[in-house]
Symmetry: C2
Subunit: 143 residues, 2 copies
């Protein structure tokens, strides 16, 4: 199994046990713990045990493990907090709000319109010509 | 492989081909296509081919498939758009901003502070006693 570690990364230090955390779950590929800067009660993080700043650089086996951990941990957070709703958020790049440069999925309970992840959603309307071009461009980049 | 379908669900209709989409990627377990109400250029959705309103109800094999699809599709979106940053968002419950009640992961490119997912992040400070209680409560709910 591929593995990657960064001695200067705070999340790698947590994985190694050099910095403590309120651990909720751990297996060979992921670790889940309570966020120390919660934006709502029960705010939890899931991280791959592989150092990559962005999700695009996470190998398949760790990405799959994160995927499997999300429902499991979210269900436990839901059970513990009774939250009526919750967001899963994973930020890539400083401009997207990323603060720790080791991939992490936030599980953020939402109890009311004022708590948790408060975002503006201003949808556009997809232009048909743009869509066809964008589809081709993304598909080309899949190879 | 477990499978679940809802005849009244717009995303199930897209999976079945009854409603068209700008398809980017498809395998046995996931489908990716361009969002018709994009909040930024290249806004893309990944959905499991299994009808569940919330991520907590997605079976492991589909959750793993979504996890594996995220880096793959995000990399292609990044390649096609040149976006310097991007957010992955998955909303559960109306209160969390969910509008279509079939699990979907948004890949939302961010080009500037004004584009894409615009959210407020107001972190609290984790209280040690609360954290110990919360950790125990979540861990208990993992079983």
């Amino acid at each position: 199994m591929a593995s990657q570690h960064d001695d200067n990364c705070i999340f790698c230090k947590i994985i190694n046990g050099d910095i403590p955390c309120h651990k909720i779950y751990e297996d060979d590929r992921v670790l889940a713990f309570i966020d120390i800067g919660p934006i709502s009660k029960g705010h939890t993080l899931i991280i791959p045990k592989y150092h990559a700043a962005e999700i695009v650089d996470v190998p398949e086996e760790y990405a799959a493990a994160c995927g499997m951990a999300i429902p499991k941990i979210a269900k436990a957070v839901q059970g513990a907090t009774g939250c009526p709703a919750y967001n899963i958020l994973q930020n890539n790049g400083q401009l997207a709000g990323q603060a720790v440069f080791h991939v992490h999925f936030h599980i953020i309970p939402r109890y009311s319109a004022e708590t948790g992840l408060n975002y503006k959603w201003i949808p556009g309307q997809l232009d048909e010509t743009d869509a066809v071009e964008m589809k081709a461009a993304i598909a080309n980049n899949l190879k």
